[in-house]
């Protein structure tokens, strides 16, 4: 009578959140495992042996194996690490200890592992406990240790939580593993906004099919997505709940209502409207009412993207005769042209963590992705593939970029590191994919 409610309470709380218990005695000595200037060029060799089942009967073996697979894939996805093949391990990890005293670090040093992550899984009546430790085999010290408790459905979440700790410990960045990606998927009359996890998992369609859907954009709290869809031959901006898919009309002014971008520092968003006979960028209130017109130049002004502090806005304008990227200081209203090379530079997106702006530029008919510093104008090219590489979007920690590419025919989503390395498909999805936006 007493234990039953208590047990239910544990389940209830576990379902809501994942308990985190940090281990004591974690060494916090500063050492740069990741080269800040070229983090993706010299990948850190990392070993993640299969996690151990911690019960006497070893009932968690499958869960442990699955968890170690999730961790290896998630950390490899970041581009910081080179995962050492388990066939190269000198010890049978299933029988090895997972705490400092039980690990022979020489075995890991000998295969070149600079980081080692061990883990254990314990399961009892639907409640799963997972503990993970990251070691530096060379220094023979633990860098990080955490224990998580939750329900069976929360296992991926627990593993990803630790991955977040690993990246935070090594780069001081946060947010990648909880983030999601929204994009437009489908063809012809059947296009919708889709949402998937940062790594392409948990793919879901969230809006009704339409023939024209463009520019999904995440709200700063990561709960809502604004996008443009055509309905009854009107181009309107809608907002929809990223989980329930419930959608509401946000702006339907005469002409076009496109490229919504939420304000990072206050409610409301910026968007391009043409009701005054010219495509200009306006600030709209939370209720979709016009607060202020930002651009004052004849011609196209489109695709606003704000600096993290909300004080500056990058956008595209053809005021000089061709589409180029400009930066506006919102307080003074002053506008500075940022791109000069090439005749077609569009789709700017301001990094959520720095003054870098990623954009797509056309050269000899091909569109590629570039990064430019908003202050110095220094730029570098990230893609060199055939076909068009478009719509770049930053991960919330600024370490990765998602984009669409026609390099293999139809438009598909790809991801790469912020340095342009490790370019690969995001999704195993048949239909076309374009216009991705990475959540905060």
């Amino acid at each position: 009578m007493i234990t039953a409610p208590r047990f239910c309470l544990i389940i209830l709380i576990s379902a809501i959140s994942v308990f985190v218990v940090p281990f004591s005695g974690v060494c916090q000595e500063e050492y740069d495992y990741i080269n800040i200037s070229e983090p993706f060029m010299n990948k850190i060799p990392m070993a993640i042996p299969v996690f151990r089942a911690l019960s006497e009967d070893g009932a968690e073996e499958n869960a442990a194996r699955r968890a170690s697979g999730i961790m290896r894939d998630a950390l490899a996805y970041t581009g910081y690490f080179k995962m050492i093949d388990r066939d190269a391990f000198l010890v049978d990890s299933a029988n090895q200890g997972i705490v400092s005293g039980e690990i022979n670090f020489k075995n890991w040093r000998d295969i070149g592992a600079e980081l080692l992550i061990t883990g254990g899984v314990r399961s009892n009546a639907g409640v799963v406990q997972m503990e993970f430790r990251m070691f530096d085999p060379l220094r023979q010290e633990m860098l990080l240790g955490k224990r998580y408790t939750g329900t069976a459905e929360n296992q991926r979440k627990m593993v990803l939580r630790f991955c977040g700790e690993v990246i935070n410990r090594l780069t001081e960045k946060t947010g990648l593993f909880e983030s999601r990606i929204a994009f437009v998927g489908g063809e012809g009359e059947d296009k919708s906004v889709y949402v998937c996890d940062f790594d392409g998992k948990n793919l879901r369609r969230i809006t009704d099919p339409r023939d024209i859907v463009v520019s999904p954009a995440w709200s700063p709290d990561g709960r809502t997505i604004a996008y443009t869809a055509y309905s009854d031959d009107q181009s309107n901006i809608y907002v929809c709940d990223a989980d329930s898919g419930e959608q509401n009309l946000f702006a339907a002014y005469e002409g076009i209502n496109i490229t919504p971008a939420w304000l990072p520092d206050r409610p409301g968003m910026a968007a391009t409207l043409s009701f005054e006979g010219d495509e200009e960028i306006y600030i709209l209130t939370e209720a979709g009412k016009i607060d202020k017109r930002l651009t004052e130049s004849w011609g196209v002004d489109v695709s606003p993207s704000f600096s993290p502090d909300g004080r500056r806005m990058a956008f595209v304008s053809n005021r000089s005769g061709s589409p180029q990227i400009y930066v506006m200081d919102l307080e003074s209203g002053g506008v500075k042209r940022l791109t000069y090379e090439g005749k077609y530079n569009t789709q700017p997106e301001w990094s959520p963590v720095s003054d870098k702006i990623v954009y797509s530029g056309m050269k000899n008919g091909n569109i590629d992705i570039y990064v430019i510093d908003a202050n110095t104008g220094e730029k570098s090219r990230l893609t060199r593939a055939t076909g068009s590489n478009e719509s770049p979007g930053w991960s919330p920690d600024g370490s990765m970029i998602v984009f669409s590419s026609t390099r293999n025919g139809p438009s598909r989503l790809y991801v790469m590191t912020a340095a342009g390395t490790d370019q690969r498909r995001l999704l195993d999805m048949e239909a076309q994919q374009k216009l991705p936006d990475w959540s905060p």
Partner: protein, 203 residues
């Protein structure tokens, strides 16, 4: 014997004839003149009435034939006009305005087409027009949506300058989403950089 019979036959014939002549003469002579005259008069009147009737009928027929002819001619004219109108309407709808790459300014050809369209719109004051702006597949989605809008607005501005009431014109951009022709070469792109015209729904 033969002679006596012949004389008797001749005499008999004469008697019969004279009798016949007497009977006919005794019975009819006084009436015959009048009735003959009357008969003649009636027949004459009848003939005149019939002729008049025929003539009238002919006249009526002629008039109705003329009316029919006039109606036919009017109908044909109407048909021709309707056909002409429909042709003009069809031409108005089908004729597109083309643009250069990444350009919303109107070429000389475009202006020529738009002058015709302007006339049509002014001749058809009930028509409510939607101007669609389109782009080729090159370039990026969002900018193309804006460029398509810019193209539609250029067309609208020109039509308004030529005397069309701005309130009758609405613009919409489809960017590169609705190509007129599928394909990936210059020929196709040329056909897809365009403004199209259609009537507001319900018109």
């Amino acid at each position: 014997m033969v002679k006596r019979i012949n004389i008797r036959f001749i005499l008999f014939c004469i008697l019969v004839l004279s009798l016949a002549a007497f009977v006919s003469c005794a019975k009819k002579p006084p009436e015959s003149a009048v009735s003959q005259e009357k008969q003649q008069q009636v027949s004459e009147t009848e003939t005149t009435a019939e002729a008049e009737k025929t003539r009238q009928a002919q006249q009526e027929e002629e008039i109705s034939e003329q009316e029919l002819e006039a109606r036919k001619r009017a109908e044909a004219k109407q048909r021709r006009e309707k056909q002409k109108e429909e042709k003009a309407r069809g031409q108005f709808l089908s004729e597109k305005v083309y643009f250069e790459f990444d350009d919303s300014s109107l070429t000389d050809d475009a202006r020529e087409v738009l002058r015709r369209k302007s006339r049509w719109i002014r001749d058809n004051p009930d028509a409510c027009i939607i101007i669609e702006g389109h782009c080729d597949e090159r370039g990026t989605d969002e900018y193309n949506l804006a460029l398509g809008s810019r193209r539609a607005e250029s067309v609208k501005d020109f039509l308004v300058k030529t005397g069309v009431d701005a309130s009758r014109l609405t613009t919409i951009s489809y960017g590169e989403e609705r190509p007129a022709v599928k394909g990936h070469n210059e020929d196709v792109w040329t056909k897809n950089r365009r403004a199209e015209f259609r009537f507001c729904s319900g018109k």
